[in-house]
């Protein structure tokens, strides 16, 4: 199956950069909200350090947010920016490469002082050089102007300077003629208990707009015009938000309570932060003492009949290996969400990578196969986690869902679905009075889920090998081989439910680019552009990494060359070579950042 749907690049890209204490993420998200409110499609990509407050003004402390507004739904936040706002020299140094030739560079000239230049590693002030460049350079003393705008409020200099993010946002809003009412109202609500601070931020935002208006500091720019397709309710959603919404939706679709156990870890923690406020939606969250306890509690919750989930990232996932192997043996339905980050070990906690695929596929003792899925964008996390829950409950198995730091923190505009349009998830828990054996199997090879509290179904399960059907401890050689094969065959049963693969482009040709996870947007955009230039190239993006789609081999064989693009050194490529004995080519990027569209285009 193929689809010829095209991808237009019509958007504008705005990049805000400052120190990690400057609040550029906050202001950027407000700016993004304003764009969605104006009916625009949205792509947001943040980039920030793991340190909460790296030394102020240093390159290590730079925090950046890139926002793309588009008439349609953009697939990425863009490779390059039309506007870059740099609140200090380090922010400029870390981000100037993002700016398009001829783009608009807005600097807080008040922050370009000797000390900050030195912290950023500039021997000479770069501004003089920039004046002669092709950029539209705008120097605004945001430091002084913000201090003046909030002078009448009783704030210390430190707090007053923290309003600079909203001054900068005001400038951008003026430039793109964006309305700020919603943000002004939001500031009111947000600072309800600190009125003075709320007023100061509102004043800074207005001052930024007024400054643009009064000085006509740059050519005003136009936003794309929202296409008709953007009508109807929608929202901005990050990957972690969509994942949380997907979990609570899966619980409702299955009629189960949701139990989420987790140990704090970047970049997965936001999921718990959101869901711990959702008691009334049938959600219970538990912050465990470590990842082993988190997955242990999830196993207990699954045994007791809940939709059980644990969320983590690579190092935490490593600690869960033992218990996850047991969940395979116990054949209990549960979800492990790994929001991947750059490894090995602690690695780069806030930077994305796709290097946990092998860990998800193989990281357990013994033969312990389980389904592995990946989400391909922020909003896709919603659908991916529902699919993961469906598989877990249908086949009585733990399922691993891979997200990563890029989609967890990035955001997009999203037309949220109606629950009644989503297929319910069937759950069959064993009932009192029915014939029962803990390891008897149905046509999906699922064993019965007999929940404690059900009269007459008392049984014991455990990490020791079990006898087929009866579930008694067994060391019988033939039984062990049978059970090992049955556990593997459950994957084959799960594969039968995978929908036909949808290829973007033709189903045969010179080149197929295969990807999985967060690389979706970059690959799809690059392939679409190449096709417009007449190249015979197609794109296949995998949701199911284990089991693989049954028609995948046929799809791969339709192309002279197959390139597998991933943010690791070829883990999926090796898996596909192994499965299909095809000469696939890996294309790797492991720089702690997502593929740019240009990275993919360079390979086509």
């Amino acid at each position: 199956m193929t689809s010829g749907q095209d991808v237009q690049a019509t958007g504008v890209v705005i990049c805000l950069a400052g120190d990690s204490g400057d609040g550029v993420q906050l202001a950027g998200r407000r700016l993004a909200q304003q764009g969605v409110a104006a009916g625009l499609g949205l792509g947001v990509a943040p980039d920030f350090p793991a340190e909460i407050r790296a030394p102020a003004g240093s390159l290590n402390g730079v925090s950046t947010i890139q926002i793309r507004f588009d008439a349609g739904e953009p697939l990425t936040a863009g490779d390059t920016a039309d506007v870059l706002v740099a609140l200090n020299p380090a922010a400029l140094r870390a981000n100037w490469r993002r700016l398009k030739p001829g783009g608009c560079l807005i600097l807080d000239s008040g922050a370009f002082i000797e000390k900050n230049l030195a912290l950023a590693g500039y021997d000479v002030d770069p501004v003089a050089q920039l004046e002669t460049s092709a950029h539209d350079l705008v120097r605004v003393d945001m430091t002084a102007l913000t201090l003046a705008a909030v002078e009448k409020y009783d704030l210390r200099r430190r707090s007053a300077l923290r309003c600079r993010n909203f001054f900068a946002m005001g400038v951008v809003c003026w430039m793109y003629q964006l309305h700020t009412e919603a943000t002004l109202a939001w500031l009111d609500r947000q600072f309800e208990s600190h009125r003075e601070l709320g007023e100061a931020n509102r004043a800074a935002l207005r001052a930024g707009m007024n400054y643009g208006e009064t000085t006509e500091l740059s050519a005003r720019r136009v936003l794309p015009v929202a296409s008709d397709g953007s009508a109807g309710p929608r929202r901005m959603v990050s990957g972690n938000e969509a994942l949380s919404l997907g979990l609570v939706t899966a619980a409702e679709l299955s009629g189960l309570d949701l139990f989420l156990a987790s140990y704090p870890i970047t970049p997965a923690s936001d999921i718990v932060h959101l869901m711990c406020g959702w008691d009334e939606f049938g959600v219970r969250t538990f912050q465990a003492e470590d990842e082993m306890a988190a997955i242990g509690a999830a196993v207990g919750a699954a045994y007791a009949g809940a939709l059980a989930v644990t969320t983590t990232s690579g190092p935490g996932f490593a600690l869960m290996s033992e218990m996850l192997g047991m969940a395979v043996a116990l054949e209990l339905p549960m979800l492990v969400v790994d929001v991947q980050r750059a490894g090995p070990s602690t690695g780069m906690p806030t930077k994305p990578e796709q290097s946990d695929l092998n860990q998800a596929l193989h990281g357990r003792s013994g033969e312990a196969p389980l389904p592995v899925l990946a989400a391909s964008s922020a909003s896709d996390c919603f659908w991916a986690v529902i699919e993961a829950a469906r598989i877990a409950l249908r086949h009585m198995t733990p399922v691993v869902l891979l997200s990563d730091a890029a989609i967890a923190n990035s955001a997009e505009s999203w037309r949220q679905p109606r629950l009644r349009d989503i297929r319910p998830i069937n759950v069959r828990q064993a009932e009192a009075g029915s014939p029962f054996a803990p390891y008897a199997r149905d046509e999906e090879l699922a064993r019965p889920w007999a929940v404690p509290g059900t009269p007459g179904l008392q049984h014991r399960i455990g990490s020791l090998e079990k006898e087929h059907v009866s579930g008694h401890i067994s060391y019988d050689p033939g039984n062990h081989e049978l059970m090992t094969r049955l556990r593997a065959q459950k994957l084959a049963a799960a594969a039968r439910h995978i929908e036909d693969t949808v290829l973007f482009g033709s189903d045969h040709g010179d080149l197929l680019v295969v990807g999985w996870g967060s690389t979706f947007g970059a690959i799809r955009t690059a392939v679409a552009r190449a096709r417009r230039c007449g190249k015979q190239v197609s794109h296949l993006h995998l949701r199911h990494l284990n089991p693989l789609p049954p028609d995948l081999g046929r799809c791969l064989r339709g192309f002279r060359k197959v390139l597998v693009a991933e943010m690791n050194l070829g883990q999926l490529c090796a898996r596909l070579r192994d499965e299909f004995l095809l000469d696939l080519q890996p294309y790797s990027k492991v720089q702690g950042g997502p593929f740019a569209v240009a990275d993919i285009e360079a390979m086509l």
């Binding site: 309305h179 538990f286 470590d290 047991m326 949220q416 509290g453």
Partner: protein, 332 residues
């Protein structure tokens, strides 16, 4: 045990200890202290009239952790050391279940000590039976955290050099709301403690001295020491004749004195007194007795109450509300 041919029964409130036995062959060594503990556990279930389906026994790895297979309730034999975490999840989802954790000194105090202390401090409503034989049995005799200094094992041929861990002191410090010690050979007293633990709402830790006849036979036999049977409100008498009892000297240390000596006054056991429980847990030395029974008991809110607030009056709200909450209406 049920099988395919036999339709499962209805709710049962059996009152005979034999009803709580599973059909599994018990695989402990002959003479193991675990047999006596299992027997008292079956009796306890009968005594409290337990509904089999409402009980879950969770264990880790080790000889003690085979326990769930031998009781006809729900059971989950987990991985090494992590039974308290599994039990926490079960209890969080269904607080009406009675959840027991059966563990050993290696399982609970070595690999699993991190989970143990957190289950206790959270006051998860689970009852933890710590079958302490001061040795690793299933892996053939290595030193455990409760092995005694000088104990010769395959992993310590020159004798254990580390101080042994005191599980009762640990439990008190971690915030357990029920702390007790039993001895495998004192059946009657063990059953009473198990019944009290079953009736306690909160995290209970019951240490049971359990003889391992194969790798650590007689480890807890201390001919020079008497047992002190802890009875609420009663003097802390030592030995059977009632002529001696514990008291506090002027330095605040426990010592034994004759009961007819009124100065200083005799101590009486107060299960709600954490300081006294601490002194009793810390007792060591040949001149002091071994306290057995309930050291400490108190009430605190349990973990599942905190996890599960009062159910909302309107019933469960739909996820659709959350999906729509961030909805941004089309401007203009």
């Amino acid at each position: 045990m049920t099988n395919l041919a036999e339709p499962a029964g209805v709710a049962t409130g059996a009152r005979d200890k034999r009803d709580y036995r599973s059909d599994q062959q018990i695989r402990w060594c002959p003479g193991c202290g675990d047999y006596a503990i299992l027997a008292q556990f079956h009796k306890m279930l009968a005594a409290v009239g337990a509904n089999k389906e409402d009980h879950v026994i969770v264990s880790g790895i080790g000889c003690a952790s085979r326990f769930p297979y031998y009781v006809d309730t729900y059971g989950l034999h987990g991985v090494h050391g992590r039974a308290p975490a599994i039990a926490t999840g079960i209890k969080a989802v269904n607080p009406s279940l009675t959840v027991w954790v059966v563990t050993g000194d290696g399982d609970a105090l070595s690999i699993g000590v991190g989970h143990l202390i957190h289950a206790l401090r959270r006051n998860v409503d689970i009852k933890i039976l710590l079958l302490n034989n001061a040795v690793y049995g299933l892996t053939k005799g290595q030193a455990s955290p409760t092995s005694f200094p000088g104990q010769v094992t395959p992993s310590s041929p020159a004798g254990v050099v580390d101080r042994s861990l005191n599980p009762l002191r640990l439990a008190l410090t971690a915030g357990a709301t029920f702390v007790a010690r039993c001895v495998d050979s004192h059946g009657r007293q063990m059953r009473d403690v198990l019944i009290a633990a079953a009736e306690h709402r909160g995290a209970a830790l019951v240490e049971i001295w359990q003889n391992c006849p194969v790798f650590n036979d007689g480890a807890f036999v201390q001919p020079s020491r008497n047992y002190l049977h802890l009875r609420p409100g009663q003097p802390l008498t030592v030995g059977g004749d009632g002529e001696r009892a514990l008291t506090l000297d002027q330095g605040g240390r426990l010592r034994v004195q004759r009961t007819d000596d009124a100065d200083p006054p005799l101590l009486r056991h107060d299960v709600g007194n954490a300081a006294l429980a601490g002194l009793l847990a810390d007792i060591e030395g040949d001149d002091l007795p071994v306290p057995v029974g309930i050291y400490y008991r108190c009430t605190r809110p349990v973990h599942s109450d905190a996890l599960r607030p009062e159910p909302p009056l309107r019933g469960r709200r739909s996820a659709q509300e959350l999906l729509d909450a961030g909805r941004i209406p089309r401007a203009g």
